[in-house]
Amino acid sequence: MIHQLLRAVLRRAGIPLLAAVAAACSTPPADAPVVRIGVLASLTGPRVVMSGASTRDGAMLAAREINEAGGIDVGGVRHRMEVVLTDIGEGTDMATSAAQSLLTRPDIQAIVGPQYSRNALPVAVLAERVGVPMITPMASHPDVTAGRRWVYRIAFTDDVQATALARWAREGLHARRAAVLYEESASYSRGLTERFAAAFTQGGGQVVAREGYTRDRASDFSAALGRLAAAKPDVLLLPNELPDDTLQIRQAAAAGLRAPLLLADFVDPNVMSGLPMPGGLFTTHHWYLEGSAPANRAFVAAFSKVYGHAPNATSAATYDAVRLIADAMHRAGRTTPAALRDAIAATREFHGATGTMDFTARQDPAKRAVVMRLDGGRLVAVREMAP
């Protein structure tokens, strides 16, 4: 005992070690050069809760982390990242106007968004013409990126998502008869419906009834749902945006539809839990909260700490898009849009919250779809479908 004590004392009294204090990297100084990226989000109108706020939070978190880690090293010079949040409101014409305002600002090096395919499609045309890189985090319509040089996306495409839903309906729910209520004025909804129908039919099922509606008549679906109920479907596909689908779920139950519901990646458990859904509700995402990749765990922890609630897929994908731009800009070593585009196209292994992405041969990352069930206020992954 005494030996040990003495040894400990003698060690302590040993020659003091000389400690070198390294200057830790911190936030770049306020006068550092700035990299500005435009973020297009619905900050007014009915979509602000579902999409706009999530977009804003994901982008701001990414920019904050990048700046706190010392900014972006572009060719040896630390740059501060600045997010220029721009409201795209409700209408498509407003989205194109807002996007064009950003694209004609020479200090904007890239844009992130829009999240909805019907907005992302025309904005992609503008970005392509002006020659500014655009990354849409969530728009899943294949035409957003098809044939373009300047447009990339983080999410999966509707091909992947519709096929996964159809396969789950056939294999997981053993459904033979599907009915669809879709927004025919939305390219996203139309496209999903067509792709689902093709995959479901190919799998041996049959789409027995489909009803379309347009955005300006999106409050009372009971007549259409009544006609769909009459076809006695095994599953009901609602490939529509919030808040339409919330109304549709409520009115489907009222119309006596007890079949399982299939929804696309617009499901928000915060809004939908508590709605009547006797057959259960299934959806697909390219991301889920409990994903075990280290990048996702770090993102979820950071997000929850800053905002006090768990993130959704929109936040995750937006976060990835902003960080991908920062990463590409660092690799490019220059801030010009053309150099940035080339660097994005050379992205080989980007570890994001929504998965590892490679853009060397394509503009859409290869993402698996996760089929999830809405269960007691949260989404529970039930199956992963490889792309």
Binding site: L6, P122, E184, R215
Partner: protein
């Protein structure tokens, strides 16, 4: 003076004419300046007036165009309204709705409208519900939905003009006019929407009337794009057009100014933001055209002014020639003075200013002669000052070159400007060869980077930076105390960095050595204290155990446990002895020793000690010198080192013990760290074992450092050996290679004495006592009791005292009956030697035995100076005690 004149010959030719022309020029320049000033003011005034007039013209032009634009939009709205109210259209819509199919008739009708009017590029009909294009002048638009676009949402109920926006379908700038198509009952059956032909808008706006020859008018939308927006413009301005005027106009500000337009031309322009159309309207004309009258005016003014000035200047020149003559005489005199003739004078002809000038010139010439003499004296003084500066420079150079510290001065790029001899010596090159080089070229990269950082800090703070640094050149690692300081010029600007580095390698080595010594001493004192108290306890345990054993039958059941206690006490006392040795508290009896002889006596024991798996070799030098050391301690050192060798070879090997004579230091001697020059005997113990991790080497002699498992080693072996060798003024060194083995070398100073003294023969055993009275003094009751029992068994009578005061009282009481005193050394109130001194005052021949477990004290040494006193090391066994008591009593009797 003459030299200067030869170098700069005075100009002679043209002198006269130049003076006159200078006078003319002196007049000409201000006159010309006035002319230019007048022309400039005229130009500015006129330009300002012209600009205002241009603004007025352009404003009027923009008013006209804004009105035309609005009228054009109204006309198109009316045309579209006319179309919307055509019965054929309403009928066609109703029919198409009924049929539920395409409406070819409607498509044709819309196509016709577009082709005849040319003011719309396309016209479509949108379904009242869903905003679907069900009829269109352009069939590619059919089937599109405009459900979330403003012209549909608002066009269902009223006429709406949607200002220029990028159309979602095409991305092109578009102005859309839309309105409901109403059925007879007033319900909306469709929305009619037309995209205006912006090329026509541009035609309306770009009409040159009222804009002059170079005028231009154009529209820019809120996205910084030309409304005419053809592909050429897009490729030229992919990110939109950005000029200060356009940026201002698009941000909603109307104004006017002279600026560079999108084409880089300087123009007078008026811009106007039209909030109702969300467009900026520009009307511009080139400044060349706008300001042409002002430029013409300037040229005219300049020409007339120049003619007037020139005429006057010629007249002036003529007058000037007459005034110049006396001046020229003075000039001649000045020329002679310039030639070196300082005695020259100029004629003073008149009393006017020129006469005064001549007189003043003569005074000046005299003064110049005087000043010339003074100047030469000053030249001498300057030369001696330069010599003094050079001497002090040489002095400084010599001083820094003889400084042991490293001195350097570097420029702001880190290149050496000055280096002293020590600096060069450290880098192993002549100091001059370092000039102009940087640390990165002469030092390892890490050091050079560290130096550059320090220099940067000095430059940043402007303050002296003092630091301890380590630098490596070749295999040499040296520690420096370095001061870096900025050198400033007279304006306080830093122009160089000075460095003074003092080599503190030796000082740091000594510091760490002193630290190690201090640690050993502290541990030693602690160990000594522990050993002292432990020895008291062990004495009592041992004496009592022996008492019990005494007279116990050989087969008594308690005998074995008691013997076990006795053995444990012996082991314990061996440990305390080691602690005492380590703390130098042991009584050391150094004598002249032959290390080979000691080894000879231990050979068999050493072979047993290292065990059977290890081969033991001896490599002993002949004629080995004697050393001065304690024999017992030398044996202990040897055993400790061999114990270490044994532990290092768990799977066997060879242990070699070697001795030799070594001369350390001097011109031919070997070098051993921390050892003074002189003659030594080396005792080497080499093993072929596992070797020692280099990181552990510095810890090896630390007390209680051990690599063995707890309980298997005390960690005192090597530190004890170290302490013993240090005490004997020797040194221990270690050479170890991991996996190859370790050699410990012990260096002991040579003993000058030659003879070997044989130990004294042991005294014969003595008979037990015969009733002598002994006074036992110890503050520990168990020790007293044990002593009483043991001595009583030997036939002595015992009186006990627990303190000095008791002892003195008992001595008074029993007086001469007390034959001998046994006393502890360290006690409260009065210590053993003090008691002995008081007793010896009364009876100097009284034999006294001091007992202690702790012998370091000076007290003990003083007490032992008398013949009548002896020392008994605690813990002792019965024979030691009894023999010493009997011997002391016998001596007293003999004397």
């Amino acid at each position: 003076m003459t030299d200067a004149a030869a170098e700069h010959p005075l100009p002679r030719a043209g002198w006269r004419t130049r003076l006159a022309s200078r006078l003319a020029v002196a007049f000409f320049l201000p006159a010309a300046a006035v002319v230019v000033f007048a022309a400039t003011v005229g130009f500015i005034e006129m330009r300002s007036a012209l600009r205002e007039s241009a603004f007025d013209r352009l404003r009027a032009a923009t008013d006209v165009r804004e009105g035309q634009f609005d009228r054009w939009v109204r006309e198109q709205t009316n045309d579209l309204r006319f179309l919307a109210t055509m019965p054929q259209l309403q009928e066609g819509i109703t029919a198409a709705a009924r049929a539920g199919t395409g409406a070819a008739a409607l498509d044709a009708m819309l196509r016709r409208s577009v082709s005849t009017q040319q003011d719309f590029t396309r016209i479509v009909l949108l379904s009242a519900v869903g905003g679907r294009v069900f009829a269109a002048s352009d069939s590619t638009l059919l089937g599109q939905y405009r459900v979330s676009e403003r012209h549909f949402l608002e066009g269902r109920t009223r006429v709406v003009v949607q200002n220029v926006y990028p159309a979602p379908a095409t991305g092109m700038p578009t102005l859309t006019i839309a309105m409901p198509v109403l059925a007879a009952d007033g319900t909306t059956i469709a929305v009619l929407a037309g995209d205006a032909n912006l090329a026509r808008v541009e035609e309306v706006v770009a009409d040159r009337s009222g804009l002059g020859e170079t005028g231009d008018a154009y529209l820019v939308d809120r996205f910084h794009e030309f409304v005419r927006g053809n592909d050429y413009d897009r490729q030229r301005f992919p990110r939109g057009i950005h000029t200060p005027a356009i940026d201002r106009a698009v941000s909603g500000i109307s104004g006017a100014g002279v600026y560079r337009n999108y084409a880089g031309r300087e123009v007078v322009g008026v811009y106007r933001w039209m909030p109702a159309r969300q467009l900026a309207l520009f009307a511009e004309m080139s400044t060349d055209e706008a300001f042409a009258p002002a430029r013409r005016l300037v040229w005219e003014m300049m020409l007339i002014g120049a003619l007037a000035v020139l005429t006057l200047a010629l007249g002036l020149m003529f007058v000037a020639r007459h005034i110049a003559r006396p001046v020229l005489e003075i000039a001649d005199a000045a020329e002679r003075v310039a030639g070196g003739n300082l005695t020259t004078t100029a004629p003073v002809r008149t009393a006017d200013e020129i006469g005064q000038l001549a007189a003043a010139f003569n005074v000046m010439t005299r003064r110049l002669a005087a000043a010339h003499g003074a100047l030469e004296a000053q030249l001498h003084a300057t030369e001696s000052a330069a010599e003094a500066t050079e001497a002090s420079r040489r002095l400084l150079r010599a001083l820094i070159d003889h400084l042991p510290a490293l001195v350097a001065v570097k420029d702001l790029d880190g290149r050496y400007l000055i280096t002293n001899a020590s600096f060069g010596d450290f880098h192993r090159v002549p100091a001059v060869t370092l000039l102009g080089r940087s640390p990165a070229e002469v030092l390892p990269q890490a050091n050079a980077i560290a130096i550059a950082e320090c220099d940067a800090q000095v430059l940043a703070t402007g303050a002296t930076l003092t630091a301890e640094e380590t630098h490596v050149v070749g295999s040499q690692e040296r520690a420096f105390l370095t001061a870096r300081f900025p050198l400033r010029d007279a304006d306080g600007r830093i122009f160089a960095i000075g460095v003074v580095a003092t080599d503190i390698t030796e000082r740091k080595r000594l510091e760490s050595q002193v630290l190690h010594q201090q640690k050993l001493e502290a541990v030693g004192r602690l160990a000594g204290g522990v050993a002292h108290d432990m020895n008291n306890l062990l004495t009592a345990v041992r004496c009592n155990a022996e008492l019990l054993l005494d007279g116990m039958a050989p087969d008594h059941p308690d005998r074995q446990p008691l013997e076990e206690i006795d053995r444990s006490v012996r082991n314990g006392s061996a440990l305390t002895r080691q602690l005492l040795t380590f703390s130098r508290a042991h009584v050391v009896r150094p004598s002249a020793l032959d290390v080979n002889r000691i080894l000879g006596g231990m050979t068999a024991m050493l072979r047993r000690y290292v065990g059977t798996g290890i081969e033991m070799r001896f490599d002993l030098a002949d004629d080995l010198w004697l050393v001065r050391a304690d024999e017992g301690q030398m044996e202990q050192v040897l055993l400790n080192l061999l114990s270490n060798a044994h532990d290092a070879m768990p799977v066997g090997g060879t242990a070699t013990v070697a001795t030799e004579n070594v001369v350390v230091g001097g011109p031919t001697g070997v070098v051993v760290p921390n050892l003074a020059a002189g003659e030594y005997v080396r005792l080497g113990v080499h093993d072929t074992g596992t070797g020692i991790d280099p990181e552990l080497l510095p810890l090896l002699f630390e007390p209680f450092f051990t690599t063995k498992e707890p309980g298997r080693g005390t960690g005192l072996g090597l530190s004890t050996a170290y302490a013993i060798v240090q005490q004997a003024l020797g040194a221990i060194t270690i050479d170890s290679v991991l996996g190859r083995g370790t050699t410990f070398n012990v260096y002991l100073p040579r003993h000058p004495d030659e003879p070997f003294v044989a130990p004294e023969p042991l005294p014969p055993r003595v008979a037990p006592g015969s009733g002598e009275m002994l006074l036992v003094i110890d503050d520990e009751a168990p020790v007293r009791t044990a002593l009483r029992r043991m001595l009583a068994l030997q036939g002595y009578r015992i009186v006990e005292a627990q303190s000095g005061r008791d002892a003195l009282a008992l001595f008074q009481e029993h007086g001469d009956a007390i034959a001998l005193v046994l006393t502890d050394v360290f006690m409260p109130e009065m210590n053993g030697p003090e008691i002995a001194a008081r007793l010896h005052e009364q009876r100097p021949s009284l034999p006294v035995i001091f007992m202690s477990g702790y012998t370091a004290s000076e007290i003990v040494r003083r007490g032992l100076m008398r013949e009548e006193t002896r020392f008994l090391q605690k813990p002792f066994n019965r024979p030691q005690l009894v023999d010493l008591v009997a011997e002391m009593l016998r001596k007293t009797q003999i004397s």
